[in-house]
């Protein structure tokens, strides 16, 4: 095969693997929007906390970050519950200017608490799979990325199935569709919303612990991840879990192809252009729910 074609295929392959992780990073944001119309700009900060959980586990206790996913889920879900009870419960139903600003306020507070606790410098965690590569014919992929992708795909599928099949998931979807009607049939919407928001935040933390196996963390990492999370969610469709996961994969492929075929410093610029095009022409994304 032609070398350029091989390079392009390699780029697409690593794009899919990276993109799966962008997908799991983004599904929490999409869930919170789909159920409560909350755009949580502090989502990236929760990912950052999940990454620090991985760092502490790996550095201080010698535990692989991938082994403590349930713990980082629980811890960030707890932070999410607090955030919901203090701030976001006032803003359910409409993504207003005040709600977006409140989310930014939360993001600043969470980021600076992390900076005061952990310091501003970048930290890494190491996984047992770090530095190992798998070779398929002419292609090679890092083992951590394969495992991260597998975890992301399984978690996304599990969340999607839970929302579709379980009784709790049905109440969540009922509240999302029509809050008042759901309350009439006996669903406690505050209880359901708190749970859904905690789930969204827990997913962010878990995604962080997956990401930290190959990506260093710092207090500012939450802000720097937010663009890709926003783009993946918008392309896939705010509110759709599976769509957001596919949006993440699209982002990963576009980013990696740009980086390998054109210029790695400008790898995200086509994504920003794509975001503007989607917002102008199809703001609901590929699979999104209608927004007010």
């Amino acid at each position: 095969m032609d070398a350029t074609v091989l390079l392009a295929l390699q780029a697409v392959l690593s794009g899919i693997l990276v993109g799966g992780v962008y997908g799991i990073l983004s599904i929490g944001l999409s869930l919170a929007f789909g159920v409560m119309r909350i755009v949580n700009f502090a989502h990236g900060e929760l990912v950052m906390y999940g990454m620090y959980v991985g760092v502490v586990a790996s550095r201080n206790f010698g535990v692989d970050p991938l082994a403590i996913l349930p713990l980082s889920f629980l811890l960030t879900a707890l932070v999410g519950t607090l955030m919901y009870q203090i701030v976001f419960r006032h803003f359910v139903g409409h993504a207003t200017l005040q709600q977006l600003l409140a989310a930014i306020g939360c993001a600043l507070v969470l980021q600076m608490i992390a900076q005061i606790i952990f310091g501003a410098d970048a930290r890494t965690a190491s996984s047992v799979f770090a530095g190992q590569y798998v070779v398929f014919g002419p292609f090679f992929v890092a083992k951590v990325q394969m495992i991260a992708f597998a975890v992301a795909a399984v978690v996304t599928l599990a969340v999607e199935l839970m929302l579709r099949l379980s009784a709790w998931g049905k109440s969540v979807r009922a509240v999302a569709d029509d809050l008042e009607a759901a309350e009439v049939v006996g669903i406690n919407s505050q209880y359901i919303n708190t749970g859904a928001f905690a789930l969204a935040c827990g997913l962010a933390g878990m995604a962080g612990s997956v990401l930290v196996t190959y990506f260093p963390t710092a207090p500012s990492v939450g802000f720097s991840l937010m663009p890709i999370i926003i783009i993946a969610t918008t392309i896939g469709g705010l509110g759709s879990i599976g769509g957001t996961f596919l949006g993440g994969i699209c982002c990963g492929i576009i980013q990696q192809v740009t980086a390998m075929m054109w210029n790695s410093a400008l790898q995200d610029v086509p994504l920003y252009v794509l975001l503007l095009v989607f917002i102008a022409l199809r703001p609901t994304g590929l699979f999104g729910v209608r927004s007010e």
Binding site: L97, L101, I104, I230, A265, L276
Partner: protein, 340 residues
């Protein structure tokens, strides 16, 4: 958004003598105090420089207030226009010797064009998508500015060539000339905001902010109103950016387009009172005062980032407890009749 159009009428034009004198004093006295600062015995350059910082952020905050406070459109990427203004004047001056007196207008024109394009693409949608798009554009510009090192200086930033005290280059060793320049901006933008609030166009913006459907039904061209409001705010930001660039003498991609800078552009209006003319003035003064105090405190404690933590807490406190900002707290009684 609730109706805040009543706030500016606090300084009303009704012929009540006592109230009129008080309202006149309310804006003449601060101007006189700031203008007389360099003459006072205990005032050193540090205090003057802090005052200039406050005045610059008041001007920038007033510009953001037009699109967000009056127009109700949450631009999270106003750093775009600050950065375009700074980089345009800086590059024109360093490379071609064009003074900021001209470069500033070029930066403003570029910002108008960018705002027109951004606005036309994203303002047809309601609410959240405009906010997301502005974030995306500002972060894309961070990457672009980092990449074109020849033009922008990359991550090291762009420093103006220093000419000493020079009116032509709009440069000065002492901060006092900037005090008068930025004071002129604050006064000018205050009156511009007052004028916009009272004009037909400003009323259309507020109608769109309060209820798009009702505004459209009443014959307001919703989309055009939003785009023009965004362009006005962008032009005001880019022009005030000249002041920022000449005072700080340097700009880098994070300081221009980064999210934390965008938040500093929003805080004056948010703290003071969104959609009011005095809001950004009071809020900007409070913001810079608090940041000076916390900077001093965090150096003493040896902890970084306390100022941003305080900004975040202030933002949350204002939104949850005092959505009308400090102006709303002060003029609670004056507003009581009109709030719904």
């Amino acid at each position: 958004m609730e109706n805040r159009s009543a706030a500016p009428s606090v300084v009303s034009s009704q012929p009540l003598d006592g109230a009129r004198w008080r309202s006149l004093a309310a804006y003449v006295v601060p101007i006189v105090i700031v203008a007389a600062l360099p003459l006072l015995p205990f005032v050193n350059n540090y205090i003057i420089a802090a005052t200039v910082r406050a005045l610059i952020f008041i001007s920038l905050g007033q510009a953001w207030n037009v699109v967000a406070g009056i127009g109700g459109q949450l631009s999270l990427g106003h750093g775009v226009f600050l950065g375009l203004g700074c980089y345009t004047t800086g590059i024109l001056f360093n490379r071609y010797g064009i003074p900021p007196w001209i470069g500033g207008w070029v930066g403003m024109l570029i910002s108008l064009v960018v705002a027109l394009i951004m606005g036309s693409m994203t303002l047809r949608m309601r609410g959240v998508f405009f906010a997301l798009a502005t974030v995306a554009v500002s972060l894309a510009l961070v990457q672009i500015a980092l990449h074109f090192v020849d033009l922008t200086g990359g991550g090291d930033g762009l420093a103006l060539k220093f000419f000493g005290n020079s009116l032509w280059a709009m440069q000065s060793r002492a901060p006092a000339p900037f005090l008068y320049g930025s004071l002129a901006f604050v006064v000018g933008y205050y009156w511009l905001t007052r004028w916009v609030l009272a004009s037909d166009f400003g009323l259309a913006m507020q109608a769109v902010r309060d209820d798009e459907v009702a505004a459209a039904a009443a014959g307001v061209a919703v989309f055009r109103t939003k785009v023009v409001g965004f362009m006005l705010s962008a032009a005001m930001t880019a022009l005030a950016a000249v002041l920022y660039m000449q005072f700080y003498m340097a700009i880098d991609p994070e300081a221009a387009f980064g999210l934390s800078q965008a938040i500093q552009l929003q805080l004056p209006a948010l703290l003071g009172g969104l959609g009011t003319a005095p809001g950004p003035v009071i809020g900007g003064a409070v913001m810079i005062f608090l940041s000076e105090v916390t900077n001093w405190g965090s150096t003493k404690l040896g902890v970084n980032g306390v100022d941003i933590l305080v900004y975040g807490l202030m933002l949350l406190a204002v939104i949850l407890r005092a959505p009308k900002g400090i102006v709303g707290l002060i003029f609670k009684n004056a507003l009581a009749g009109s709030s719904r």
